[in-house]
């Protein structure tokens, strides 16, 4: 096997740009997964919706930045549907997300004119981000990420945003404080999917096409970024990490995730196994805290202690 380090480092800037875009999506996933305590599977669909809306609007002559804002709106709509299914009709959150995601497949195809893939002639338009100019794309993605982190930091410090955090932390207490937790969940899901769709819009501009399958597994990638970022942040900053720092590390988690993929591809491993690899990594990180708890206390440990102590008694 012939591995060329020049190729590896040559691929890093592109990996960073795409990682920042996925990190942007992870910030949306963080809102639902960590703050609202909902695993929202809508994102697999809304990510593609964002890409589809962006590409179709740009092809129709709309400014690429305006197209991104429209993607944001489309994502907000998708999240609202999931939220209403969950809160008004009492469908479990995870199933509500699956239903919306399933429906979005048809809708995304319809947006793209019933084709599975829609290309964007990248040289014809002045795109927000593009693989043709990786350095400026990284800068743009960084600025956008910083902007979103600032907005999230501000919002979740306000009365309204704090009520949303309380909803995720303790729904009973929130209701006793007069918070309409259903409204909060809908707004949170809408906001989250808005950012996710915008991220899909960014990726479609960067890669120069939208694809019906571009969002497949987005939730897992988002979780991977959240987890990598949190583990890294806790290791480096520990208790000194504030909310903005946490968000920055999640974005960094997206970059690290994507650089790992670049390395895996460089090692000439079959990229078809990437999803398996990602799932295994996410499963391991999700289970680490639970395994640590079990190391301290479990039935099998209690049983062993019991056997040991009764043996000591009989001796």
């Amino acid at each position: 096997m012939n591995l060329n380090f020049g190729n590896l480092f040559g691929a890093f800037p592109g990996g960073i740009a795409q990682g920042l875009i996925w990190g942007f999506m992870a910030l949306g996933v963080y809102i639902t997964f960590r703050l609202l305590d909902i695993a929202d599977l809508t994102v697999d669909g809304s990510f593609t919706t964002g890409g589809a809306v962006t590409v179709m609007l740009i092809l129709a002559g709309v400014n690429p930045w305006v197209a991104l804002l429209c993607a944001l709106g489309a994502g907000i709509l998708a999240g609202t549907v999931t939220g209403l299914l969950h809160t008004v009709f009492d469908i479990p959150a995870i199933l509500s997300g699956i239903l919306t995601q399933f429906a979005l497949y048809s809708i995304n195809l319809a947006i793209m004119g019933m084709t599975a893939n829609k290309g964007l002639p990248v040289d014809k338009y002045k795109l927000a981000v593009t693989s043709r100019n990786i350095n400026s794309s990284i800068l743009t993605a960084l600025l956008l990420t910083a902007l979103v982190i600032a907005v999230l930091y501000w919002y979740f410090g306000t009365e309204h945003g704090s009520a949303m955090r309380a909803t995720g932390s303790n729904p009973e207490m929130s209701k006793a404080q007069g918070i309409n937790i259903n409204t909060m969940k809908v707004i949170g899901l809408a906001m989250s999917n808005g950012f996710v769709a915008m991220s899909g819009g960014l990726l479609s501009q960067y890669q120069g096409f939208a694809d019906i399958n571009m969002g497949r597994g987005a939730i897992v990638i988002g979780l991977a970024a959240v987890i990598i970022g949190e583990v890294l942040g806790n290791a480096l900053l520990g208790k000194r990490m504030n909310f903005a720092g946490r968000l920055a590390f999640i974005s960094l988690g997206g970059v690290i995730y994507y650089l790992v993929i670049v390395i895996v591809l460089w090692l000439k491993l079959d990229s078809n196994y990437l999803k398996l690899l990602t799932a295994v990594v996410v499963a391991i990180f999700l289970s680490v805290p639970n395994i640590q708890a079990k190391m301290k206390t479990s039935f099998s440990r209690a049983g062993k202690r019991s056997v040991k102590s009764s043996r000591e008694v009989s001796e």
């Binding site: 306000t158 009365e159 932390s169 303790n170 929130s174 209701k175 006793a176 404080q177 918070i179 309409n180």
Partner: protein
């Protein structure tokens, strides 16, 4: 004196039409005057907590109406009537958001039932007031305002919840066995705090308890419940002179059966 709370003909049946059907409240009538401090006792399943939950609006009642300070709240879910009610729960984990700081929790409670806008949650001008109120608890929490509530003990969390319930003057304070999950020493501390907070804020209060002695010694009025009904309702002088034995005799006379609640007997 105005009527602060009025329940008229309130009924609630759980699991209606199934083998587990349970009439939890059976046409309950009750009126609380302003500044009444009522203790509620009764055996397990007597309907004490159910009555508090009916007032709090945890679920809709089957029959009857509930008025708080003259407002008909029967058709309002819990979060919409929260502006009238302060609540402390049996489980110390329920009343506070563990992932949020002490001052953030207090700020949330200070806005109970009010519009939550896009200004900063913890207003700098409120922080000093929060600190002073925390200091009155005597637990040293005024120096730990940025600590996450999840790091506090059960007793500390119950004390913070009490403060939160009274921060925004409620029309009625509902205490649902709020000392039952605490060790005896902490329970006593929280009970004393309860008395102080209720007195200094002139709160109309309903407190469910398993402890007959507490039920007699605290408040100006005592209610005993059984099978979803109010069996006994004593006030003022008559209540002040009650003993646990009296209470048990009265229960037997009213219900025609022996008072058989181990927890209540043991905790006398």
């Amino acid at each position: 004196m105005s009527t602060m709370l009025k329940l008229s003909g309130v009924s609630k049946t759980f699991n209606a039409g199934t083998i587990n059907e349970k009439v939890a409240l059976n046409h309950v009538n009750l009126e609380l005057e302003e500044n009444d401090f009522v203790t509620v006792i009764g055996g397990n399943g007597a309907g004490k907590s159910t009555m508090l939950n009916a007032v709090a609006g945890v679920w809709p009642v089957d029959e009857g109406s509930i008025f708080i300070d003259g407002t008909d709240v029967t058709g309002l879910p819990d979060f919409k009537r929260a502006y009238l009610i302060g609540r402390v729960f049996q489980d110390p984990m329920t009343g506070t958001a563990a992932d949020m700081q002490i001052e953030e929790n207090l700020a949330l409670a200070y806005k109970r039932g009010k519009k939550r806008g896009l200004s900063w949650n913890v207003h700098p001008e409120d922080r000093e007031m929060f600190r002073e109120r925390l200091a009155t608890l005597g637990l040293g929490l005024e120096d730990r305002m940025k600590t996450k509530v999840g790091l506090l003990s059960g007793g500390q969390r119950q004390a913070v919840t009490l403060l939160m319930a009274s921060l925004q003057q409620p029309k009625i304070l509902l205490l649902d066995e709020h000392t039952a999950a605490l060790d005896p020493k902490t329970a006593k501390l929280v009970l004393n705090l309860t008395k102080e907070i209720v007195e200094s804020n002139h709160l109309t209060t309903m407190m469910v308890t398993h402890n007959m002695k507490d039920a007699i010694s605290i408040g100006n009025r005592l209610i005993m419940m059984d099978e979803g009904k109010i069996l006994l309702d004593v006030k003022g002088e008559e209540k002040a002179n009650l003993t646990v034995e009296d209470l048990m005799k009265k229960f037997e006379a009213a219900s025609g059966e022996e008072f058989s609640n181990d927890q209540a007997l043991l905790s006398k």
